[in-house]
Symmetry: C2
Subunit: 342 residues, 2 copies
């Protein structure tokens, strides 16, 4: 996304950004929780929401919030703040236009669940060199300031886009933000992010909806008998329809790919059962992945090591290690500082 050359910043990330103020645009579940977590840690943090009611709630809770977007962005520009775009994907364009007008030099990230659509909006607003996309994998079924929780990100995985050419100092600032609220960083390419999220988050919404709908066709009696496998397997189908639509429809291309694969697998499973009486293949495939995931999440993730952000090929090396299941942690970060020649 960035036009910066590696030589500009190699081996000398701008660590001053770590203590720059944070400016959060949008104070819903994710943005509000982030404002609270960062302000509670002692770092200067201020936020904007267009709803005066939300701003009043945040202010009453002791946080620095403003319903005037221009004033908020002029303040961000004056203090060289890191801007976090935390509005729904459908509201991104006017917010980016405002940033381009009042704070075009600030570093920018976002916390939106799709990345290609945001990248296109950022490009249209002429802000690509200032932006490094992000996506904390934290709760979505509740919403609004009342649901905010400064502990929301503790232990969560937080994607920070690591495309070739991304600005190393902005990448470090965004990664440090994630680490500062207790998350671990997963470096991912923009395109791959959307494909992975389609598979691990958006397809489960579709399969939950279909599982529920098939059970519902048998009326009250079937639902009376529904127990554990129905309860857990259809939980996310209970998320408000507009929230699910906004999330899934912003990732259409990748979700279509995941649905095609699910269709292929379901067709094969149906044919196997019809022709051989066996569900062994489909059940064994699913069991293998589930037990792999359980093993992975029951142990601490291995840290990415040996990468200095900004050195030649750093982004590709981060992505390579992320593919092995490793994450960027404070340990990865410290090791870089001590290895840095500056």
């Amino acid at each position: 996304m960035s036009a910066d050359t590696p030589s500009r910043t190699a081996a000398s990330p701008d660590t001053s950004r770590a203590t720059a103020p944070l400016c959060v645009l949008g104070l819903g579940l994710i943005g509000g929780s982030l404002l609270r977590a960062v302000a509670d840690s002692g770092r200067t943090a201020f936020g904007h929401n267009r709803s005066t009611a939300t701003v009043a709630e945040a202010t009453a809770a002791g946080y620095d919030a403003d319903d005037d977007l221009e004033r908020t962005l002029r303040r961000a520009a004056a203090t060289d703040a890191l801007i976090v775009v935390a509005v729904p994907v459908t509201a991104v364009d006017p917010v980016l236009d405002a940033i381009a007008r009042w704070a075009p030099e600030c570093a920018i990230t976002d916390v939106i669940s799709v990345k290609q659509a945001v990248a296109q909006s950022v490009s249209r607003a002429g802000l690509s060199t200032r932006w490094v996309g992000g996506h904390p994998m934290a709760g979505t079924s509740q919403s609004g300031w009342a649901a905010t929780d400064p502990g929301l990100f503790a232990g969560a995985s937080w994607v920070v886009a690591a495309d070739d050419g991304v600005d190393p100092s902005i990448w470090t600032a965004v990664a440090d933000l994630a680490l500062s609220v207790g998350a671990v960083v997963v470096p991912v390419e923009t395109d791959e992010h959307d494909r992975v999220v389609a598979a691990i988050s958006h397809l489960p919404h579709v399969t939950a909806a279909i599982t529920a709908a098939v059970a519902g066709g048998d009326g009250q009696l079937a639902l009376r008998l529904a127990a554990g496998s129905f309860r857990d397997g259809t939980r996310v189908a209970g998320t408000a329809v507009p929230l699910q639509r906004a999330m899934l429809e912003a990732n259409t291309t990748a979700l279509l790919g995941a649905m095609d694969e699910a269709l292929d697998r379901l067709t094969r499973a149906r044919d196997d059962l019809r022709d051989t009486g066996s569900v062994e293949l489909v059940v064994a495939d699913g069991h293998r992945v589930r037990t792999r995931w359980e093993a992975m999440t029951s142990a601490p993730a291995q840290p990415i090591t040996g990468v200095t952000v900004g050195e030649s090929g750093w982004a590709a090396e981060l992505r390579r290690q992320a593919h092995l299941g490793r994450v960027w942690t404070t340990e990865s970060r410290t090791q870089i500082r001590s290895a840095s020649p500056s």
Copy 2:
């Protein structure tokens, strides 16, 4: 299933069965929990398991268990016990043959998760008039005596087959057993049971497996990012493969129907998203069923009323009310006793 005529027992169910001893064949999670719950309530209950280790565990815990099937069944015959078949569906035939040989006059039920396959085995053993099928909707992901829990059935739905022609006194004995351990009874026809269970229990295993497999195709990185929707949506995919196979493959016909419907719905959802960019229909369908289920389970079920077991058309009337979401409870039972002219 029964050749009894309604006139034989109309309005006078044989309530002596309620205090007859209970004989449980198979002391796994369901059978073992049932033996414990019934024995703990003060009713005479004894069990059989072919594993001497399991019998030793049960005996050490203070329960009456025997590894000799013939001796157990002779005792059941001598005491006119209600026999509960609690072995895996693949082990049903030899157990039924033993019952036909040593205790053919006893009333029989079972706790197996499919009913048509069991009905065929019961018919082959010549025991159809003595059998009323059952299926408590209680946990399956653990197994063995160590996992048994006398509280397993509290609040659970327990299917008791209510086909036309079923013996009213045996039906009452089986329903009373379910009520005595804290369950509510859902009267269902044998064929319909298998279709409903395919939709609410077996299909969720298939969709969980497919959801997991699609996510797993993207390697360690995807699983590192998997969060709530993956965790809950794939939980049952972690059940041991042989247990899942035994359950699903015993219900092939009904499961094929549920898989065909899921395929139709998934194809339509994929086409909608591709052609219109919208997931509204699939998400709204799933949301409607899920919220209906949540509302249903958050309130106590309405009891079936106005039915005297054994009167003309009683089984059909039980099924009709069950279709409205009602259940057979102690209240339904009391009301019958008081309405009974005997």
